[in-house]
Symmetry: C2
Subunit: 214 residues, 2 copies
């Protein structure tokens, strides 16, 4: 198998990263199982500390599970809004109240992705000194799926405005599983060149990281 990549591929990879969005506005029509499966293929190729492959994926399908997840988000979101109001930052609070922060009502596919911190796979290599590496491995796998799905035109939105513990309980997962992200997946309503948070004035994108030298 060829191991080199063309300049055209690199340009397209850059364009892919450029058009990746955290999608919250989804059409409700279904996404083929085959596309979701190809997205999950990215997990099979993702890096993981010590080859621990600590990711655990729950397909949140039933009406009851989806209602529990949505209600969890709504509570956490209301608490966040209240906190901005308590800070006395009325402009921030008003802006926050107007943001659409999850596509949980519409996204046809919803995955709760956990990290199993109790896995013995990998025999703790690289995670003895930095146990958080397992969670970072799961974040890497999600990033790769994000790009793979976007290459098919499918959007992903990573919801983190959630009470992790309550969601884990509602989804009846083992105690050692830690929520990394609740992923909404579906066809985006539109393709936008900038993040909505940037567009609506929540926060600008700085872009290139400053690099200090030592």
């Amino acid at each position: 198998m060829q191991t080199e990549f063309s300049p055209e591929f690199r340009e397209d990879l850059h364009r892919l990263m450029r058009w990746r969005r955290d999608v919250r506005r989804f059409r409700t029509d279904p996404v083929d199982d085959a596309i979701v499966a190809r997205g999950l293929d990215a997990f099979a190729m993702a890096p993981s500390v010590g080859l621990s492959e600590p990711w655990r994926v729950i397909n949140v399908e039933s009406a009851a599970a989806r209602a529990a997840a949505l209600s969890n988000f709504q509570t956490a979101n209301a608490e966040a809004l209240a906190a901005y109001r308590e800070d006395g930052d009325c402009e921030r609070a008003a802006l926050y109240a107007g943001l659409k922060l999850s596509g949980m009502r519409d996204a046809p596919v919803q995955l709760a992705v956990f990290c199993n911190d109790a896995t013995t796979k990998g025999a703790n290599l690289g995670a003895r000194s930095m146990p958080e590496m397992r969670a970072y491995s799961v974040a890497c796998a999600i990033s790769m799926m994000w790009l793979a799905l976007r290459a098919e035109g499918v959007g992903l939105g990573w919801v983190s405005i959630l009470d992790e513990q309550a969601l884990a309980t509602a989804l009846e997962v083992p105690d050692s599983w830690k929520l990394i992200g609740y992923l909404c997946i579906g066809w985006p309503e539109d393709q936008t060149p900038r993040a909505e948070l940037e567009e609506l004035g929540w926060e600008p994108r700085i872009g290139l990281p400053e690099m200090e030298r030592r």
Copy 2:
């Protein structure tokens, strides 16, 4: 700008993920600054919770800083080996002792990547309920750089066998910066289709995640 991607691009993206390795064996010849800069471009396009862009990058260049990082790794690695021995798992310990777990002696470019958990950027959006999301954002940005560099033939190795706190102190970074990864970057000695940990029998790759339904 075109927002669609071709089937050929998707195949190449799959091939890119397939050939991404955690590289520990580097040639010592330099990597052009322009290539490193294009790798860092990935950070500018990476997702971050609330657009917090919490990544902070230290270019570890000086002999003194590199010696401190290498010595930090050597200590953590010796402690890990001692722990396998103390567990009485002689086969694991022997296998561990034979692994090359960092390319810190040879990699021409070395970046220490931190998460600034005290950033006010993003105004805490999405990180109130899950503060770890900032660290996950940094992990996502590193994944994207990893792919971008690999597309140019450049390898990246993520070292986590480190005492985070001691490294942060040695590199004189603010207290609120948490180490996410120490990245070795350079031309790989060879291209391999499987991870060395798999090849040498440390751990097999399971591949596709099992997915439970709720």
